[in-house]
């Protein structure tokens, strides 16, 4: 995990992506900010419905109707050094399409159906290459073989003409990765790529991603709900809940001594080999998006909820000792707020 270089590759500032549904306006992403440095791995973690996938899709401009990016800025530094605000460009415009696949690659959760069942894996990989790099058929084919070998796909040249349904989940995910990285983008967005895989394949894929990050010098935005994965690969972590960032900061800080009660709750859910083996879940369920609790969104499930404060006024996201930020009244003055009980370190 390297220190971030000077200017960040991607700077997301107060991103808002809302969905107009028959039941009312759903604010899936409600003012999310974070930065991604060059060759840095940022993990966005949270329960389902926290808006982490929508955030990833918003960056890639893949938000489906009736969702739309309604506010905020997403400054992204292109290869040629210039910076562009992704939030300002219409998703279906030519400029955005030139970025997708060329500057930013993306892989998805279900390898089972992430590839077209009726096209060969070769043709699906070559498509991006020919589109962005203007290669001829032969050159694109070579580039595809090269990409597959880079992702450790056995016997790449011979199996270019095989179909996805002939491959295992892990191999299909490797094809997806090869496809996303074929044009050597500077940022890879991975939306829970390993959730559907068994543990050993998951480990191989994570190890592969780190290796590729090193070789290609690319940044990774890794969406997951699995803190174990975060621990393994994350340089920095962003914890989201109900469309907002609860806590963000370097992985070591967040995992070592989580400040926000929600982060602490999540960490308690991870089975600790040495621990007493008793898993303790966070009580209650994630509120319905149309029924956001007043004040702090987590107030309804927070064991340290301070009545009168947490359930009335929403805490601000405040910076703490430089790199970390937390959104909790416990830390509202920037210092650990001592409660009657123990300091939650």
């Amino acid at each position: 995990m390297r220190a971030p270089t000077a200017a960040p590759l991607l700077e997301v500032d107060n991103l808002r992506t809302h969905f107009t549904t028959p039941g009312g306006l759903v604010k899936s992403v409600d003012g999310v900010s974070f930065t991604v440095g060059h060759q840095e791995t940022v993990c966005i973690v949270g329960e389902s419905g926290s808006g982490k996938s929508i955030t990833a899709r918003s960056i890639m401009g893949l938000v489906r109707r009736p969702g739309r990016v309604v506010g905020g800025r997403m400054n992204f530094r292109l290869r040629d050094g210039s910076t562009v605000d992704l939030a300002a460009i219409p998703p279906d415009s030519a400029t955005y399409r030139a970025i997708r696949g060329r500057e930013i690659g993306m892989i998805f959760q279900e390898p089972m159906s992430a590839l077209s069942p009726v096209h060969t894996i070769g043709s699906q990989i070559e498509e991006g290459i020919r589109l962005h790099l203007g290669f001829g058929a032969r050159a694109a084919r070579e580039r595809a073989v090269d990409a597959l070998e880079k992702v450790g796909f056995p016997g790449a040249r011979q199996r270019l003409n095989t179909y996805p349904f002939q491959l295992s989940g892990g191999l299909r995910q490797r094809v997806c990765i090869a496809m996303a990285l074929a044009c050597e983008p500077s940022l890879l967005i991975a939306d829970e790529p390993t959730t559907a895989l068994d543990v050993t394949t998951q480990a191989n894929i994570l190890e592969l991603l780190l290796r590729l990050q090193g070789e290609l010098g690319m940044a990774i935005v890794f969406i997951t709900h699995d803190l174990g994965v975060v621990a393994e690969i994350a340089d920095r972590v962003v914890v989201m809940y109900l469309g907002q960032v609860m806590e963000a900061g370097p992985a070591s800080g967040i995992l070592g001594h989580p400040r926000h009660p929600y982060t602490r709750g999540l960490l308690r859910c991870v089975a600790d080999i040495e621990g007493d083996g008793l898993l303790r879940a966070i009580p209650g369920i994630v509120p319905h998006p149309l029924a956001r609790p007043p004040g702090c969104p987590f107030s309804t499930r927070c064991e340290e909820m301070m009545p009168g404060l947490c359930d009335t006024t929403a805490p601000e996201l405040l910076a703490i000792n430089g790199e970390s930020r937390v959104r909790c009244h416990l830390w509202s003055s920037g210092q650990p707020h001592v409660t009657e009980g123990a300091v939650h370190g």
Binding site: E47, V270, A281, G284, A291, R301
Partner: protein
């Protein structure tokens, strides 16, 4: 390892808006049919079509009282009479008042052109009302009556909202009576075809292998059997004393024995794709018998196809009735059905000077359209995979 499980000590969930909570709890408890009904209701177009279909069947059932005149009531002086406008208000010297009426005709016979020409006669006013006395009929064989929903207050007056045909019979009444035959005569045949189709299609799709190829080849053989000679042969084999309607009914039932091929092929295709779905494999692993798997596990997952196929088989039944009448098989005059009425209207003479004779054609269109939309809506509503 998401933490969606409840625990006892949880603080009370906030007051989620009543409507949503209520809906979610009801959804959880509702049976599949109720689910289908709710989703169907949301499909506005299909719901409206459902109402239209229901209305057609009610009219067909109560044809006698609803139709202003009986099918045989022919009035020589009104052959090919054009439709009369229904006026709701009458302007008399003391202002206008609500009095629904139609205007009478002035008739001249032109023997050289073999027709009667009609001019609306503004001074003969024929008052019209609801629940009037008219031609006698036996209501579903239960009792005799001459009460009609609407019609001329003074019985016997010319009342042709949709004009008259070549024997001076009211086209509206005959179209209404035609509905009774066209919408029902083929139903048993259609249902039988469906039953056979689902069973054979299911077996063919589920068992595969030899059974599948045998059934597919049988389908190919059956599909190439010409129905026309069957019609001619069966219609001639039936004894003369049978009423023509009974003959038509019997033949449609017999023909349903070869009418199941289309639905069988659809069901087979669906079964093939469902066969190796996880829930089927697991049901097999649980030791469920094959018939139980087919009926309990697989069938519910495509009620939508069966429902849609049923509702879409009815329009095909109606349309084939009209085609059969056109080539001179099936129902013939003096029977009254949409097919027969259309056969009599489908000529240049009617198109040129009596276009109102095509009212049954419009009725066929409305029936087929609403049934198609209903079928489509039901398919979407009953499809568990539909979002």
């Amino acid at each position: 390892m998401s933490s969606a499980t409840d625990t006892t000590a949880a603080a009370p969930a906030p007051a989620v808006p009543a409507a949503i909570a209520a809906q979610e709890s009801r959804l959880a408890g509702a049976s599949e049919w109720r689910l289908i009904w709710w989703r169907f209701r949301r499909h506005r177009l299909a719901f409206a079509s459902g109402i239209v279909v229901l209305a057609i069947y009610v009219i067909a059932l109560l044809a006698d009282p609803i139709a202003p005149a009986s099918t045989e009531a022919s009035k020589p002086q009104y052959t090919y009479a054009p439709p009369q406008m229904l006026h709701l208000f009458r302007t008399t010297d003391d202002g206008w008042r609500f009095e629904p009426h139609v205007l009478g005709y002035r008739v001249q016979i032109d023997p050289r052109a073999m027709r009667r020409s009609f001019v609306t006669d503004p001074d003969t006013v024929i008052p019209v009302g609801l629940f009037v006395r008219g031609d006698r009929y036996s209501f579903l064989g239960l009792f005799e009556s001459d009460l009609h929903l609407f019609g001329p207050i003074e019985a016997g007056q010319p009342f042709f909202l949709l004009g008259a045909d070549r024997l001076g019979r009211d086209v509206l009444s005959r179209t209404i009576h035609g509905a009774r035959v066209s919408m029902s005569i083929g139903l048993v045949g259609v249902l039988m075809s469906l039953a056979i189709g689902v069973v054979l299609g299911g077996l063919s799709g589920y068992l595969g292998g030899l059974v599948d190829s045998a059934i597919q080849r049988t389908i190919e053989i059956i599909r190439s059997i010409p129905t026309i000679p069957l019609w001619m042969g069966l219609a001639a084999a039936v004894p003369l004393t049978w009423h023509p309607l009974a003959v038509y009914f019997a033949v449609t039932v017999i023909l349903s024995l070869i009418g199941w091929t289309t639905i069988a092929r659809i069901v087979r295709g669906k079964f093939l794709s469902l066969r190796n779905e996880d829930f089927v494999v697991s049901a097999r692993l649980d030791g469920a018998s094959q018939t139980r798997i087919i009926l309990v596990h697989m069938l519910p997952s495509f009620y939508s196809y069966i429902i849609a196929a049923t509702t879409l088989a009815v329009p095909t039944m109606i349309l084939s009735e009209t085609a059969l009448s056109f080539i001179g098989l099936g129902l013939q005059p003096p029977m009254v059905s949409w097919g027969v009425l259309l056969k009599e209207a489908q000529n240049i003479r009617s198109l040129a000077s009596a276009p109102w004779l095509f009212a049954p054609g419009v009725a066929v269109m409305i029936a087929v359209l609403s049934l198609s939309f209903l079928g489509d809506g039901l398919r979407d509503a009953a499809d568990p995979y539909q979002k």
